[in-house]
């Protein structure tokens, strides 16, 4: 990049329609990247408007700049170090007071700003009328009313942003007398050449932060002020400032807002169903099964069609004269197809449904209802969706864990969701244990899975020790989701994943095929057979199907027949061996698609740790069950 004429940063609370505005501004020209050193996403896009190339950056949705979550740090760092020409602060007209609190903090950063007063139509439906002109005068910042999802006010917003980026006017907010006099006192000690403003540095110092290249006299003066103020108020200055900012926000919001009778009683009615001790859980279970049914049934159905369709090309391809055809088919095309088989049937509907849940506001309600249950394994309500979806496919489960803000919880959710028996593993368990030993035993293996997930959750809770602060989450108003927003978000998320996963999965399958063609698989089989026959009690031909299960878990049962030399699996494996084999397949290794999802969400080291842990877990559990089962099973 670097060719743009103008850089605009979008900044604001979560749930204010910031992404919708970003989509309106940039269309399909978007890229997603991580801020160096942190797993915080920054979306960038370009806009060509009136002869100017404008770069638009979507900063993470946050409520303040004072609690130092990674998202907040990234937003502040971006504004202070990248110095965008203009910041568009997206403000939700229906929740003006809380949004203005954040606006006030942005003003302190001393950057030129424009306010997009968004969702004005929704606010008016709720009986909230905001006087944009009055707000503009009180804040001394241009305010443009918008309805981002409908594209209203966008042109006016861009025009205003361009105009302000040239004028570079900076607004100013004053607090109560007591704190103002102290800030002004401290400013005298701060040199002129600081960035962005002396006032900003003074406030940071008062909040007890360390700032480089500040004279000792200023730091000492700040300490004196902190001591005296904290003595009077009995609490840290950062809290005093927060309250000052809120009383300012309250004052402004009340002056510009008019409340009339809301037209919309439907929302209250819907919430009386969705969020209640009885009907809430009933609808939750119905919705869970609808989602699961869609992804599982529809996905399975579509997967079959796709496999039949593409599988039909295999014979003619292998019969043709293309050089290296076997390697090309097994190593490259199969790898590519396995992405298709996962992405289209499972991830596409998942992202779509996730979009509906997020945009309608139901996701937050779901988290609220399942919070107590998730507490059992040291997680919060938001983890219930990814974990539940893991039953269909682990890939969307891992990717879906992104909805969880806390890093530790997100990582634990990723980890636990790879242990949820996905549909492919269900096929193995049902096809072996369910078909040849009995449904009851298959169910027992499922229960074992849940127990292990519960146990690991408990252990992780014990190790983390730091008592997690519990659920703090906004419940946005329930509303009809916007199809436009959902389709776009599905498209971008899907694109991101495909670009990321395809090379990894093809590399993985190519590697397996190279091993196969170089006849190295036999040596691998020989190498592992002592462990298999000794500890696990499994015949050595099971080594290869287990390895190929890395590519796609279903192969773990399909290839048993190939390598065992018989389609009747009951002649190949004893009941005890079927159980042990199923247990190993349940736990041993996430498939390549899941690994690429893990790599996308976690660091490389953590992904490797999860893989190694699961290998050890699978072998231990398999060996243990072999030991126990051999006492009373042949």
């Amino acid at each position: 990049m670097g060719r743009e004429d103008l850089v605009i940063a979008l900044c604001g609370n979560a749930n204010v329609g910031k992404s919708a505005l970003f989509n309106q501004l940039t269309g399909l020209q978007q890229t997603t990247g991580n801020w160096p050193g942190k797993t915080v996403e920054l979306k960038e896009g370009t806009l060509y408007y009136k002869g100017k190339f404008i770069k638009v950056v979507d900063l993470p949705g946050i409520y303040s700049l004072s609690t130092y979550s990674p998202e907040e740090e990234v937003a502040e760092e971006y504004i202070l170090t990248k110095k965008p020409d203009i910041v568009i602060n997206v403000v939700d007209a229906a929740h003006l007071e809380r949004n203005l609190f954040f606006t006030i903090q942005l003003i302190e950063l001393g950057v030129p700003m424009v306010i997009a007063l968004n969702q004005v139509d929704f606010a008016e439906n709720e009986g909230i009328f905001v006087d944009a002109y009055k707000l503009q005068n009180l804040l001394n910042i241009p305010v443009v009313p918008t309805v981002a999802i409908k594209g209203k006010g966008i042109k006016a917003l861009i025009d205003e942003a361009i105009k302000q980026s040239e004028e570079k006017k900076i607004a100013h907010i004053e607090y109560g007398k007591e704190i103002e006099s102290q800030i002004n006192e401290l400013i005298k000690y701060i040199p002129d050449n600081v960035y962005p403003t002396k006032r900003f540095i003074a406030i940071k110092l008062l909040c007890g932060e360390n700032i480089e290249n500040i004279p000792v006299s200023a730091v000492q003066k700040a300490k004196l002020i902190i001591q005296s103020l904290e003595k009077i108020h009995g609490e840290p200055i950062s809290l005093i400032l927060t309250q000052e900012r809120y009383s300012k926000a309250e004052l402004i919001a009340r002056a510009v807002t008019q409340l009339k009778n809301p037209k919309n009683k439907l929302r209250e009615f819907l919430d009386s169903i969705f969020v209640s001790p009885v009907s809430g859980y009933i609808t939750l279970i119905i919705i869970f099964f609808l989602i699961f049914g869609t992804i599982y049934k529809f996905g399975g159905f579509l997967g079959c069609i796709l496999e039949n369709f593409f599988g039909g090309f295999k014979e003619p391809f292998l019969a043709s004269n293309i050089p290296y055809k076997e390697f090309l088919w097994n190593g490259v095309i199969e790898g590519f197809l396995s992405v298709i088989y996962v992405v289209i049937p499972y991830i596409l509907p998942f992202y779509f449904i996730l979009g509906v849940l997020e945009d309608s506001g139901y996701l937050a309600r779901m988290a609220f209802l399942t919070d107590s249950l998730m507490h059992l394994i040291g997680l919060h309500g938001k983890a219930s969706l990814p974990l539940f979806l893991g039953f269909g496919c682990n890939v969307p489960a891992v990717l879906g864990s992104r909805i969880i803000e806390s890093k530790k919880e997100r990582e634990l959710t990723c980890f636990l969701s790879t242990l949820v028996p996905c549909s492919a593993r269900t096929i193995i368990v049902m096809g072996l244990v369910g078909a040849f030993i009995g449904f009851k035993y298959a169910l027992l293996l499922y229960i074992l899975s849940f127990f292990i997930i519960f146990l690991i959750g408990k252990i992780a809770q014990f190790i983390n020790k730091s008592e997690s602060p519990g659920l703090i989450m906004e419940i946005p108003p329930i509303r009809v989701p916007s199809l436009n927003v959902i389709i776009k978000s599905t498209y971008f998320k899907l694109k991101d994943f495909i670009i990321y996963a395809i090379p990894l999965i093809i590399a993985g399958s190519a590697l397996l095929e190279i091993l196969n063609q170089a006849n190295l698989l036999v040596s691998i089989e020989n190498f592992f057979s002592p462990l298999f026959s000794g500890f696990l009690g499994l015949p050595s031909f099971t080594v290869i199907p287990i390895i190929f299960g890395i590519l796609r878990k279903e192969l773990g049962i399909i290839m048993l027949a190939t390598f065992g030399g018989s389609a009747n699996l009951s002649t190949l494996l004893l009941p005890r061996q079927m159980i042990v084999y199923s247990i190993v397949m349940l736990f041993y290794f996430p498939c390549i698609a899941t690994i690429s999802a893990l790599l996308k969400e976690l660091s490389f080291t953590k992904t490797v740790i999860i893989i190694l842990f699961e290998i050890v877990l699978a072998i231990l559990l398999g060996g243990l069950s072999n030991l126990i089962l051999s006492a009373f099973m042949p």
Binding site: Y63, S64, S66, T67, A94, H95, E97, R98, F101, I128, P236, S238, L239, T242, Q243, Y246, S247, E250, V275, S276, P277, A364, A367, F368, D371, S372, H380, G381, P469, G470, L471, I472, M473, E474, I475, P476, P477
Partner: protein
């Protein structure tokens, strides 16, 4: 009394948050500053609660709600 003791639709004024600076800051950032009037939207008697603060609904884990001291009005 604490926020978790209130019943649905009851109103109260926030008096004090008994938590570390991190938790207090987070709650205040969401608008739960001292003196703010809130009302309880949902309280099932167990699990998290939903509280309406500054026209926004916020879900709080019960453990957190217990640390927020309020005065019923």
């Amino acid at each position: 009394m604490s926020l978790s003791d209130l019943k649905e639709n009851e109103k109260a004024k926030i008096v004090k948050i008994h938590g570390g600076i991190g938790l207090t800051q987070r709650l205040m950032d969401l608008g739960l500053t001292y003196g703010t009037v809130v009302h309880i939207v949902r309280n099932f008697g167990r699990g998290p609660i939903i509280v309406s603060v500054r026209n926004t609904d916020i879900a709080l884990g019960r453990g957190i709600a217990r640390r927020i001291w309020v005065e019923k009005i």
